[in-house]
Symmetry: C2
Subunit: 340 residues, 2 copies
């Protein structure tokens, strides 16, 4: 490699703890994420809290790094912001830890960091601490990002354990888009209409749900394992039965088509900007009204309810359009590796 | 691979968000890290804070995963605990996010997790949230761990910007052991005497320094970039000159020998349980007394002081045993990739 090429790619020295690393961090990360706390450059960020705080972590290894509707940077911010939002916490502060393969193109890194910065602005979230590691060629596939997050809880008592008989189950939009978009990118498929990932920062919607005083029992973004994983976890944790009307679950034609082609179920596909919420029946309309004001949630729908079926506590029942019913189980096996 | 072998290694399904992942998380991580917050299994841990809180993150990619004096698990806990401790914060809560290569041996994973649990106990730290990703063979080299941490600040105003002329610079023990131990492991070297990494949880010492009411201006563990990186950062951030007596810096014979062999400087080598502290001169003896009570810090020494040299603000000067002086600069280039 000549020196011109070397300037354009990440080198091992960028992770060595010396001059090159300091320059990389300042030029790329500090520039994009600039804020007063980050500028202090201590070993740890100093934050102030009074009260209950949510704390969460997520590593992102998605392949490919760029996909229709997002990239690993957007995903890394949205994913952790959403985990906080789902707990009724304001996504105030994130960490950003990157592991980069030697030889990774610096222009790509800049694009990813810029897309993180864009996503942060949507929820007024700040990256306040970080870490940069560079590993030799072949030790990691491109770039992995970990984001952890902390934020004050402003809507308490949202929990997987709080579902009650009579609660309505609402999904915020059509499901399965992220899984389908990654599958498409990986298989090099092109569809007639444009299928994009649902990857999105959910705090603006959650903030409005809280402002509208919607009573939320449980709330979760349906990431790995999709809708099936969330509903099963809820049914088990709250010891209730959840009955879902298959017809009521919004699924786009593109996702349906891909599922038929590959033998997947849309319920099992990952989402990255789609959430499920359980609210008392008399709060359902209010919740729907708030959600449907957001353009990506115009298809928000009541898909089922929590019932008192004594023999099916801890189970999720799917009522098919043909009048039959079956258990919707937790996914098993590996559908799509490196989905997030 | 037959099914017996399959049971002994990590499979892609262990990261799929379904049954296998739930089982892995419960069997391995929850068992080892068990605590009331983790057991709640929400999207995020709920913590309570009143006041200032430190927040930090670190990813660990060390190779080899097992080395003399530790492993990636011990390192991942000690590293993040130490970042909090260095800010005068009690290391209360950690996250644990692992990225595992398909085919990784489950017994190795258990060993690493057990060593994390052991290290956590030393500072009464709890892992309260986590994430598990599995990537296909060849997409990551073995196992990477990210730990992020939060904890209440109990000793405020420790900062890279707080050094003052007259401050004594103390190092907690002989330097360069971690870098040397990794180098040894990687090169397959064996020495007559046993050289081990200094990898250690520093909270017990810091807690005693705080309890003894030692006035601390700056404190930092000398990880990547070693002592050189820390002192240069301090000199720059506080706009002072730091003068170090080379003879006063404790270095073991083994580290000296390896440095001569490979052309390294002990000042540049990474440490993982060695810290540097700047205290007012009249607090130096008290600090030394506290530190030397700990068996791994019996060689804690005053190595230099902060001076008012007008022409050398922002610089670190090394006074050699031969009466000459030179600048001790920030390391440049890549000494040892994947040191932590």
């Amino acid at each position: 490699m000549n020196s011109v090429t070397n300037d354009k790619v990440i080198q091992l020295s960028h992770g060595g703890g010396g001059k090159e690393m300091n320059r990389l961090i300042k030029d790329i990360f500090f520039n994009a994420f600039d804020n007063a706390i980050l500028r202090k450059e201590e070993d740890a960020a100093v934050l102030h809290f009074d009260g209950n705080v949510a704390f969460t972590t997520d590593s992102f290894t998605v392949a490919p790094i760029f996909f229709a509707g997002g990239d690993i940077g957007k995903l890394a911010v949205a994913g952790t912001v959403n985990d906080l939002a789902m707990m009724g916490a304001e996504p105030q502060f994130l960490s950003c830890s990157v592991i980069i393969e030697e030889g990774f193109e610096i222009t790509k890194l800049k694009t990813i960091v810029a897309s993180m910065a864009t996503e942060l602005k949507k929820s007024n979230t700040r990256i306040v601490c970080g870490d940069t590691k560079v590993v030799p060629k072949g030790c990691v596939d491109g770039l992995f990002i970990n984001t952890s997050g902390v934020g004050q809880i402003i809507k308490p008592d949202i929990s997987v354990k709080n579902l009650e008989a009579g609660d309505c189950i609402i999904v915020s939009r059509d499901i399965g888009r992220h899984g389908a978009a990654i599958l498409m990118a990986r298989e090099g498929l092109t569809l007639e209409s444009e299928l994009t990932s649902d990857c999105a920062n959910l705090w603006p919607i959650v903030e409005q749900l809280i402002a509208a005083n919607v009573e939320v029992h449980a709330m979760r973004d349906a990431t790995r394992g999709g809708m099936s994983a969330v509903l099963n976890e809820w049914a088990k944790a709250s010891n209730v039965c959840i009955e879902v009307k298959e017809e009521a679950v919004p699924v786009s034609d593109e996702v349906k088509g891909l599922c038929e082609l590959y033998g997947f179920e849309p319920f099992d596909l990952a989402n990255e900007g789609t959430f499920i919420v359980a609210v008392p029946a008399d709060n359902a309309e209010k919740a729907l009204n708030v959600m449907q004001q957001f353009c990506h949630c115009q298809t928000a729908s009541i898909i089922g309810q929590v019932t008192e079926q004594q023999n099916n506590q801890g189970k999720v029942i799917l009522q098919t359009p043909w009048g039959s019913a079956r258990y919707l189980d937790v996914p098993q096996g590996e559908l799509l590796p490196r989905i997030c």
